[in-house]
Amino acid sequence: MKLRFWGVRGSIPSPGEKTVRYGGNTTCIEVRTDDNELIILDGGTGIFPLAQTLLKELPLTAHIFNTHSHWDHIQGLPFFIPIFIPGNTIRLYAAFDPITGAGAERIMNVQLQYSFFPVREAEMKSRFEYVALMPNEAVTVGSAKITPVLLSHPVVNLGYRIDCNGKSIFFTGDHEPHFNIYEPGDEGYEEYQTLIEEQRQGIIEATRGVDVFIADSAYTIEEYPSKKGWGHGTFDSCMQLAKDAGAKILYCTHHEPTRSDDDLEKAFSAALERNADAVSCVDVRLAREGEEIIL
């Protein structure tokens, strides 16, 4: 398998001289199976430069797995040029949202509306298919098996584990470790704590032994208390999770849009020092736009 980061920024695109080294595009990861099948994790703005590279291999079939429906994970989809070209097949996979009662189809029909975009959904010329995913129920793309894992975010978020010929990748999408809504001593604290531990254990089992673990590490531990409940992890929480899962490589991603490259490296170094136990067994890296890794 091969993977390439096309967008590593969280929340909003952040171009400019201070983010030029790690990149300003929002989440998009290209994965190629051993048979060169195309899997795309999220359609943030990074999917636009990816689309440019695909024009030489048309007609294509793209399997786009959406972790969740927040803007920074869907915003590039209307600019994914292959959707407008006949002969291509695009399959968009996503979770069902209990609030709207809709699944993957809503991601496109909300964005491709007259007021917001010049082309309507009905005018996409490719063959566009929607697939509703259920947690823990794997789907197959050629030689790869993709297993959705329910994580914790303000909207339903599926992490994806991709297994292909003995190699594996896991991407969290956005994830904040579960926290107890009760205080110690409150009735319900213990029960809730048990539920949280079950959830964390479930995530560890689902990601056990992956070669590459890509995780949402938006915040530093200093920033986290004022962002609790916003749905993102910290460098530290990601390192500990990757260690517990027995991952070989961890990529920290979803970089804060206001964080300059220098500050990102500083925050990252400080977290590495604090988490020597994790660093001793996991190769921890910062995700960088354009970086490619072959497994």
Partner: protein
């Protein structure tokens, strides 16, 4: 009853989707959700006291869209699985449907019904905590108590005329309401409540216990015993009213479980003032509603 049971379940399931929640919880959800940092504990506290919201929430969570490793029976679990924001927005969407009218065409007092359901739920949980030694989760007893009479509120909303007649006959002849429902509607609230939760893939044990809460079984589990006793205790102590004037004696299997009759169970509950006060506060409609 004219329709087959599957047709009726389908019709009633659709009806319940449109059913609004109780006034107090609607009011509290709207208040709480105005704060961006909505206090999670309070939000859970409101949802878990409202049978309609609880029912709707668990229906979605246990639906085929999420193949959770286990069936979800508590609001707390739902927060862990789907996150507070999703649960908050789900509660808001329920609240947006308005509130159950205090006066319905059946003349069924939904506030008194709520008080009965809440005290039954809390008593069932307290009994489980005190008497169970088999590891039964007290939360399962709570949910069974909260939802045991759900069929009645469905009748009151969607089969008002027939239900009114049943309420009147039960009162005039001093017969159990479920018997009057059988005579007039051809089914009763235990059957309808059980059918709904079964259709919504709630755990089988909960379905069975809702269905059997007026049946003297030859043998019963902890939830059955706690629910049966809590329901009668709530009626005997006069907390709320869910349309049934008759307090039943406990079946032998339930008496055996508690080593005593209904009075002994009530004595075993100890001081219930706190439980009752809390339920009363919640069941009362705010003036502004």
């Amino acid at each position: 009853m004219p329709e087959s049971s599957s047709e009726l379940t389908k019709k009633l399931s659709v009806a319940v989707e449109k059913m609004p929640a109780f006034p107090k919880s609607v009011q509290r959800i709207l208040e709480l959700s105005r704060e961006i940092n909505c206090p999670p504990k309070e939000l859970v506290g409101v949802i878990e006291k409202d049978p309609v919201m609880t029912m709707k929430l668990l229906r979605i969570l246990n639906s085929a869209y999420y193949s959770f490793p286990k069936q979800i029976t508590s609001v707390n679990q739902s927060v862990v699985f789907l996150g507070l924001n999703t649960i908050k927005n789900m509660a808001l969407s329920f609240a947006a449907m308005g509130s159950l009218p205090q006066h319905n065409a059946a003349g069924f007092d939904v506030q008194k019904y709520l008080l009965h359901s809440l005290t039954t739920a809390s008593f069932a949980r307290a009994l489980c905590q005190k008497y169970s030694h088999d590891g039964t989760d007290p939360a399962d007893c709570y949910i069974a108590g909260l939802l045991h009479d759900f069929g009645k509120v469905v009748f009151a909303q969607f089969m008002a005329e027939e239900f009114k007649e049943a309420l009147t006959r039960s009162a005039e002849q001093n017969i159990p309401l479920h018997e009057a429902e059988q005579q007039i509607i051809g089914t009763d609230h235990t059957v309808v409540g059980g059918m709904l939760v079964e259709r919504w893939q709630f755990p089988k044990q909960l379905t069975d216990n809702i269905r059997n809460h007026h049946t003297a079984l030859p043998a019963g589990n902890t939830v059955y015993c706690c629910l049966y006793a809590a329901n009668q205790a709530s009626k005997k102590l006069g907390y709320g009213f869910s349309g049934n004037p008759v307090v039943d004696e406990l079946p032998p299997v339930v008496q055996e479980y508690f080593s005593g009759d209904l009075d002994a169970v009530i004595a075993g509950l100890g001081d219930v003032t706190k439980i009752a006060n809390e339920a009363q506060v919640f069941a009362q409609v705010g003036k502004e509603v």
